[in-house]
């Protein structure tokens, strides 16, 4: 038996992205097109030709000559920017869409988890949805029967299992949906960003479950923007850029490559276009930066030096009480701490619209060395609404230079831990009694 689970050979996928518009269109053009297009379309339709073949449309290669192999039992992370082809790759492996050229071989039963709650019907009860969603995800009825109690217990919605899911809170809905998906037992599991939903506790539960799946020796392909999750769950990662594999290797290395692809994904990230910036009607995130105290953007900070992390954002509607906050994560996927804006000037006060910069000052001798990822988020209060939540908005390296006054003193080995505080120590000389007693023996 081969120990290859997945093999891709020059997989390419072309999408059309709509027709290129001529700059000026006369009424005659419009009318003739209106008259001719339906006939042409009907012709294409009946001949079964897809429209891209006619050359009318602009096309884009979502994937271009992607080849790699995944061994049985490997947990592989796929990372890359939006539009790099990650989701397309999963869709091809899940047989949802066909490649334009190339081929792939998949050895074993594939379960795809590209969305939480696929096939859920709002009018059906929790119980009914477990069966329906399970069947859609590829479980046999006997399999669902066997796991039913486990699924319900995992979801924690026992009391409402016979209530239509439309009456569920969104959290309950997600938990139930994930519970079904988490009990899929295919040989190969494809997972796409499902962890991007739900509250932190739920996300943690999902991550733990994913870790279990990985440790059971199943093959997992995991697409995510959550770099700490990638380094925690996967030993190998593949980096896609414009549809091509540009890095493939140990996860932490590939993650580092990804984060240093260009400056926008490292210590500074900016959203120049207000339309696409994270956020909604009330506030939009425009930039996040890691700066030295003098304001220079820095990719790495000395473990002994203080620095600051700032977010620049637009408040589009006046009158809201805003609460910007950051979450700091380390490479192992552990949240080091979260911190909220407590500047007394704005605490509890509605703010006028405008551009703001909120900075948090991180003292020196606080973080441990390594890669740090920062999530930038902003909520409005009363009611509490999340305005944006930018995962791994920036990342930076905490580097340790040896100095006499550091937390490690003269020790040169590994210390570990999520923080490296410089704490006060006292060592007192009591008397020489202890030493004498040992000598007597």
């Amino acid at each position: 038996m081969s120990d290859i689970a997945i093999r891709l050979e020059n997989i390419s996928k072309q999408y059309r992205i709509g027709k290129r518009q001529k700059k000026y269109r006369t009424l005659r053009d419009v009318l003739t097109e209106a008259a001719v297009a339906p006939l042409r379309r009907a012709g294409e339709l009946l001949s079964g030709r897809t429209v891209e073949a006619t050359g009318l449309n602009e096309t884009i290669w979502a994937l271009k000559d992607v080849s790699f192999e995944v061994k049985r039992g490997e947990v592989v992370g796929v990372i890359g920017r939006n539009g790099a082809g990650k989701s397309t790759l999963l869709k091809i492996l899940a047989r949802i869409t066909e490649p334009t050229s190339g081929y792939a071989e998949v050895h074993g039963r594939v379960g795809s988890l590209l969305e939480v709650g696929t096939g859920f019907h709002r009018e059906l009860t929790g119980r009914e949805n477990i069966y329906l969603s399970g069947a859609i995800l590829g479980m046999k009825q006997t399999e669902i029967d066997r796991k039913f109690d486990e699924i319900v217990e995992f979801s924690g919605v026992e009391k409402f299992i016979d209530t239509p899911v439309k009456h569920y809170s969104s959290g309950m809905y997600l938990r139930l949906a994930f519970a079904v998906a988490a009990h899929l037992e295919p040989e190969i599991l494809l997972v796409d960003e499902v962890l991007a939903v739900g509250d932190d506790r739920f996300q943690k539960k999902c991550l733990n479950k994913m870790e279990d799946i990985g440790q059971q020796g199943r093959t997992v392909i995991f697409v995510s923007h959550n770099m700490p999750a990638i380094t925690r769950l996967c030993e190998r990662a593949i980096l896609l850029e414009e549809g091509q594999v540009i890095a493939d290797g140990p996860a932490h290395q590939v993650v580092e490559t990804y984060l240093t692809l260009d400056t926008s994904t490292t210590a500074m990230r900016e959203w120049p276009d207000p339309e696409t910036a994270p956020g909604g009607e009330v506030a939009r995130l425009r930039a996040v930066r890691v700066c030295a105290e003098d304001g220079r953007v820095v990719e790495s900070v000395d473990i002994h030096e203080p620095f600051k992390v700032e977010m620049e954002y637009d408040v589009l509607k006046s009158g809201y009480v805003l609460l910007p906050h950051f979450y700091f994560w380390n490479q192992a996927g552990i949240c080091i701490f979260g911190t909220l804006d407590i500047d007394p000037e704005w605490k509890g006060k509605p703010r006028p619209a405008g551009r703001y910069i909120s900075s948090v000052h991180i003292p020196g001798n606080f973080l441990s060395d390594g890669m740090i990822f920062v999530n930038a988020a902003l909520i409005t209060q009363g009611p509490t609404i999340l305005q944006f939540w930018e995962r791994s908005a920036v990342a930076f390296q905490v580097v340790e230079s040896f100095s006499d006054d550091g937390a490690r003193g003269d020790f040169a080995g590994q210390i570990g831990g999520v923080v490296r505080p410089l704490l006060e120590w006292d060592t007192e000389f009591k008397s020489d009694v202890g030493g004498r007693e040992w000598l007597k023996r």
């Binding site: 038996m1 949802i96 490649p99 081929y103 998949v106 795809s112 009018e123 009825q141 020796g217």
Partner: protein, 295 residues
């Protein structure tokens, strides 16, 4: 760490697979030309098909006041309207049978067909999110939509049975043919539904066209009038190319004992229906690869 896990898995799996290759190997590559119907795969997914049918039945009348009564209301009140306007006012001939039961016997299979067609044609669009996120044989969706209508059919059919009792009409021995006639309606509904659902995935125009198509089709089918209005045998056979003509005339013949045995007409209808189903299925399968991208 991973190495250890790998070797564990291999030893765990090895004994069962050393002789026979039990892990299925799926080859993913672009399909070209006319593709196979993959009916075996559909069979493997029969449980899912069953769940789809069950769901469609279950949610059909959720949050309605009258619930499953709609299955009867639709054909019954159409019959009432037809009886008043065509039967009483226009004095439409009805092969010597009381007009209400004459039209209702046709409306029962017709309603099944029309609802099935309407539901099937929407099946790709209304499951867009599912189609984009998970793989299963897409054929299961329109098939489930059509088959789920059988329950409504059964309810409406009970009323037909009651009306026959009321009118004192005893069904002929030909009633044994009814399952086959129903199958003909299923095949027709599914055949047309496959064509339209596949087209609808790419062109939403179909969504607007379907009500028209159903309306025209209804007038092209002898529901409000008897097919005996057309007398020339050749013309009658041509008329039978509309498979629903065969279904409707067959129902009247089997249940009400209408004398015009629809023999050649049924043959034409059956051939047309089978042709429609196969062409629809192949067209659907050919377009299937694009569904996730366009729907």
């Amino acid at each position: 760490m991973q190495k250890v896990i790998n070797s564990e898995v291999e030893t765990a799996i090895a004994p069962t697979t050393s002789g026979l290759e039990s892990t299925p190997v799926i080859r993913i590559e672009p399909s070209r030309g006319w593709v196979s119907l993959k009916l075996r795969e559909l069979w493997e997914y029969r449980e899912l098909l069953y769940f789809f049918i069950w769901r469609d039945i279950k949610v059909r009348y959720k949050q309605t006041v009258l619930g499953a009564a709609w299955a009867i209301i639709q054909p019954f009140f159409t019959m009432v309207v037809f009886s008043v306007f065509f039967g009483k006012l226009a004095r439409m001939p009805s092969d010597g049978i009381p007009y209400p039961i004459f039209s209702y016997a046709a409306l029962v299979p017709w309603t099944f067909f029309a609802n099935g067609l309407r539901q099937a044609s929407q099946s790709m669009v209304s499951h867009a999110s599912m189609i984009r996120k998970v793989y299963f044989p897409r054929l299961a969706l329109p098939i489930a939509r059509v088959l789920a209508g059988l329950l409504d059919f059964a309810l409406a059919f009970l009323v037909l049975w009651g009306m026959m009792l009321a009118y004192g009409i005893t069904p002929t021995a030909n009633v044994l043919w009814l399952p086959l006639l129903l199958l003909l309606a299923v095949v027709t509904s599914l055949g047309a539904g496959l064509w339209l659902s596949a087209m609808n995935a790419q062109f939403r125009d179909v969504g607007y066209a379907v009500p028209f198509i159903i309306q025209f089709w209804m007038f092209a089918t002898p529901i409000a009038y008897p097919s005996s209005l057309i007398e020339a045998p050749l013309l009658r056979m041509l008329y039978g190319i509309n498979p629903m003509t065969g279904v409707v005339e067959g129902f009247r013949w089997a249940l009400l004992g209408v004398e015009t045995a629809p023999g050649p007409m049924i043959v034409a209808s059956s051939l047309a229906a089978v042709g429609l189903l196969f062409s629809g299925a192949f067209y659907f399968r050919r377009m299937e690869k694009t569904f996730a991208d366009v729907v």
